[in-house]
Amino acid sequence: MSAASTAELLDEAHVRAGLQRVLRQHIGAEVGIGGLKRFPVGYSWLTYGFEASWDSAAGPQRRELILRLGPPNGLFAPYLAGPQFITLQAVRGSGVPVPEVHWYGDTPEVFGAPWFICEKVSGRAPVMWGEHFSDKTRTALGEQLADSLAALHRFEWRGTPIESLGKGVTVENAARTQVDYWEHAMRGWELRRMPMAESVLGWLRRNCPVAPRISVVHGDYRIGNFLAEGDHITAILDWELVHLGDPHEDLGWMCQRTFRPGTPLICTLIRREDLYARYQSLTGIEISPSAVHFYEVLGLFKFYVIDVGAERCFEEGRHNDLRLPSMSMQGPRLLLQLEKLIAEAP
């Protein structure tokens, strides 16, 4: 099969046929697909939930599963499922709560797009607006958010398939590699050059920190990207930006003001000093405030670049989703915030 259009990936019959094919191939039996349902979230990967049932020698089997598809019109297209899949597979059991992954493909063969299938984890994703946590729940979730990140950054990736994501990343060039990555994305997307964005890039290039170690970096670690049930985080989600790099990068990202509207609590859950103390005691990494600040600036710059990408995506007609131009209109506001944030360097 050739590459599918997004319309095909949204077509239930197309998705169902692909699921039956891939499950038959991997399970070795005819598999029934029930309750197929698309979750209408995000601008990127498509997410379907479904129930697979089949007969085996041990009796009837039933699994609640999730299919994720990388659409050709997504913000970060073209996508790869492999990096997420091998990371989730490798870190499972390490103290990072992740769903069990089953199968994936990066060729258009089955669905016409990259895909992976994993178990469905119970829980819901708290967001940064309008949540009313009890103190007990807030504290518990904040501590687990810190603990899971510490477990991820402690994870010994050398000798695992994650090593293939490295591409020569060292403690010296980890920050520069990310600045290059996001500049490259901006160059590919920008409809016009903005002087303030160029000035911020100059600041980033002049202030790259040396990493204390190279860790698995989630790349989008924050409230909104984990599932929780009661006081427990059941899974960390959305690994599409996973890479090897400076552990300060995830800290800088989760500390963004965007993820704590109207509160000093990081991700609306935990005080910065408590996050740092807990994380340091679990990882042995001495947090550098200037490195976290650098990655907060880089993170805010990434938001700007994502807005630029949304602008391009809408302009080319890949999406009619009006959230894209609405979001990208905020570019100047982000540049203003970047100017102020840079001025707050410790």
Binding site: F39, V98, P99, L201, E315, L322, E339
Partner: protein, 172 residues
């Protein structure tokens, strides 16, 4: 706001037609939505970008670029000079034409900032600092001018209606 007017109008009309109207069950609301489609379609040939804010922006760009040229006089390996073709407002000043000129002037100022970011050896510190001060002032005024045109963002309302918040079982 960098999307073209054509694309914004087309996208709004397409979203109304394919995503919103089919989900409206109230007849009056559907009628109103179709009227919006009709109005937008008829407004499009009559609408251009407002000239006032663009002219103000271009005046600031030209002032900054000319000041940089003055400060760079006599410098070896100085920043690029303002191209003569960009030095005057076009007549008549249509919004779309002004947007193109604004973008070209920003491209020029970006080249000045590229130069600042990696100044050639031998550029006197005082001259470099003076040029940096001019572009910094320009950039600060530019983003503040653009932000002053923005309405308060509706992030919470928009995110609350993507399904993210209402979807109790967002999953991996």
């Amino acid at each position: 706001m960098n999307n073209s007017l054509d694309r914004l109008f087309a996208g709004i009309v397409a979203s109304l037609g394919s995503e919103i109207i089919p989900r409206l069950e109230d007849e009056f609301a559907r009628g109103q939505a179709y009227a919006i489609v009709d109005l937008l379609t008829n407004l499009r040939p009559r609408i251009d970008w407002a000239v006032g804010p663009l002219a103000e922006q271009i005046a600031a760009q030209l002032a900054a670029a000319r000041r940089v040229d003055e400060l760079a006089q006599g410098l070896q390996d100085g920043p690029p000079n303002l191209p003569p073709a960009l030095a005057a407002l076009p007549e008549p000043a249509a919004g779309e034409t002004l947007r193109r000129l604004r973008d070209q002037l920003d491209e020029h100022l970006c080249k000045v900032i590229d130069w600042q970011n990696q100044p050639p050896a031998g550029v006197p510190d005082a001259a470099l600092a003076a040029i940096i001060a001019v572009t910094a002032k320009y950039m600060q005024e530019q983003v503040r001018r653009e932000v002053s045109l923005l309405a308060k963002p509706l992030f919470g309302e928009i995110a609350g209606n993507t399904g993210t918040k209402k979807q109790p079982d967002k999953n991996q």
